[in-house]
């Protein structure tokens, strides 16, 4: 079947293409010092890893994803070779349940004391066994001031027919279904069918005026005017705004979500010692600050604070004032059935 082979071929090409390190990971033996690091796109300072390699002689094979479910699917289908991944809080129970991550061996990290206690003993990892927080951020609206006269203030602005064809939404269930539930006034932990039906209808009703679902290229679209408004992750926009001052980011008045991304050890990793060394390096105060300064997300690292740019510390979009902070909620840890309902709702929206 020509259709079959091509699709399979392409699927393999995607799965493999995004991770050039995989082959290296398979072939590499224990004595070769390397770490295969799988992280979100645009989520590290460009100098950090080269310097780590220079200092330690450990080669870091860095590959990126823009869709966490896809990252999960890869790990689950047995994509071998990754040693270290960055995963969002809500993903941790699932990774744990499917036995895809290992706990940090006690006493192997020197610098965990650097982590702000606010980000320790979290609901998703009560004993700090599986996670070391990397960065945190919020979900809001990114926009291009050149093209819109009025600053967006509400999530409903993403449903405004005035911006037909100029709106972008993040391509994942957590953000889209989460915001739709919030807009419809349902709590995040709702189990009611009516709530999910309403969220689904709301998201479907937006499709005719929507340009794209995108979690990776939407910033480029904002810059070049392909879209004017985009549901966005804070740092992605603020990072790009340094070179494109017409970009801005706002947390809508209805509130939003705050999330924490964590470094996790992949089960079956063959470079554990080198991986732990990298994690320890990334949570050194200076290094963590350098990363935050570059990617413009919040750092959960207390020791990083003295090294953070003043412009970052003073930026209310990165570190929201308490009036905004109280409208932000962390992602709830949902039981598997409920988590599946979120995904199914999203799946139906995409297919509608």
């Amino acid at each position: 079947m020509p259709g079959m082979t091509r699709r399979d071929f392409l699927k393999i090409a995607i799965l493999a293409g995004a991770a050039p390190s995989l082959l290296a990971g398979c072939a590499g033996s224990e004595d070769k010092h390397e770490v295969n690091f799988f992280n979100w796109s645009t989520y590290i300072d460009k100098d950090t890893l080269p310097r780590f390699s220079l200092e330690t002689g450990i080669v870091v094979n860095y590959s990126v994803f823009s869709d966490e479910e896809e990252m999960f699917a890869k790990l689950r289908s047995g994509a071998l070779g990754y040693d270290l991944i960055v995963a969002t809080d809500y993903m941790i129970p699932r990774l744990k349940a499917l036995n895809l991550i290992d706990p940090y061996p006690t006493g192997t990290l020197k610098n965990t004391g650097n982590i702000d206690p606010k980000f320790r003993n979290t609901p998703y990892d009560p004993n700090n066994a599986y996670t070391v927080p990397y960065l945190w951020g919020t979900t809001g609206i990114g926009f291009n001031k050149k093209h819109i006269s009025k600053r967006p203030a509400s999530w409903w602005d993403l449903w405004d027919p005035k911006y037909k064809g100029k709106i972008s939404m993040l391509d994942n269930a957590r953000d889209c279904v989460g915001i739709a539930l919030l807009m419809k006034g349902y709590p995040q932990t709702t189990e009611s069918d009516a709530a999910f039906k309403a969220a689904e209808q709301l998201l479907i009703s937006q499709k005719p005026i929507l340009k794209q679902y995108s979690s990776s290229t939407y910033v480029d679209s904002l810059i070049n005017g392909e879209v004017y408004l985009a549901m966005a992750w804070s740092g992605d926009v603020i990072q790009a705004a340094r070179e494109n001052p017409e970009l801005d980011y706002v947390i809508p008045k209805e509130g939003s979500y705050i999330w924490v991304d964590n470094m996790c050890l992949v089960k079956g990793s063959r470079h554990r010692a080198d991986t732990l060394r990298l994690v320890d390096y990334l949570i050194e105060g200076k290094v963590a600050a350098e990363i935050a300064n570059f990617v413009r997300y919040g750092s959960p690292n207390a020791a990083a604070k003295p090294y953070l740019d003043k412009s970052l510390l003073d930026d209310p979009r990165v570190f929201p004032p308490s009036s905004v902070l109280k409208k932000l909620q962390f992602y709830a840890i949902l039981p598997p059935d409920l988590a599946q309902t979120w995904i199914d709702t999203w799946s139906d929206v995409k297919a509608a």
């Binding site: 259709g3 479910e69 794209q212």
Partner: protein, 293 residues
Amino acid sequence: MRGRAKKFLAWLFSGKSEKASHLLILPASFWLAFFLIIPIILLLVLSLAQRGPYGTVIWHPTLDNFRRVFTPLYIPIVARTLLYCGTAAVICLLLGYPTAYFLSFYAGEWRDTFLILLMIPFWTSALVSIYSWIIILGRDGLMNSVLTGTGLLRTPLDVLNTPFSVILGLVYFYLPFMILPLYSSLEKIPKQYMEASYDLGAGSFQTFLKVTLPLSLPGVFAGFILTFVPCLGDFLTAEFLGGPRTYLIGNLIENQFLMAQDWPFGAALTAVLLGAMLVGLYYYQKLEAAEIA
């Protein structure tokens, strides 16, 4: 030793021994068994399973996945896929036939060069091609820069993320699959037939209509199948060049595996698509057999 090897090779390639033929077909059989037949069996088994918590698979046989395939929710996706793929195949034919005709009757000594040129985009990675199209079609892209720069257009066209860009992408990827079979069937037509037609007083257009075109129909059918069928399973094009409302069957299947974590349902969708393709190909073979008879 060398004598024996020589003898063995002579036997292997004699074209007479049945055992030698079995030996020759062995590598291909293993390939098909391991990379086509066994995966398809696994797929069918998977399509009968159930999804468990966190997207695990529970081996408890059910037909629910197949029932779900035929729910009204997915009808628009099927209709859209057929429409896009049909349109793409027809455009491929309209573009491909003149090209193949040119290659067969006009290209002369340049023919091999043109054939290689035709294949070059095909050798490029699909992702690279797709990103090139994004660069070309984007609002700040090559196409809009030319159109607005030359004053042909005042405001740039938003063609990315539309059905237009998806169909364009499909045509781009599958055009060689149309041209090559057309070319080979046009090439096979004995030149004497056309000469006979001219001798009997037909003009060149009449000759084309009454002689060349009917004789090239097997190529038309083959080209149509070779473009239409792979289009049905394509998901990359719609994923990258499409928008929220250009979701195709391929995307639906991809999302079951990568996003919804519902492998059994994804397997059922694939099985149904595969079945439909097989039925289509079966009737195509029958039609072709009838044509030849």
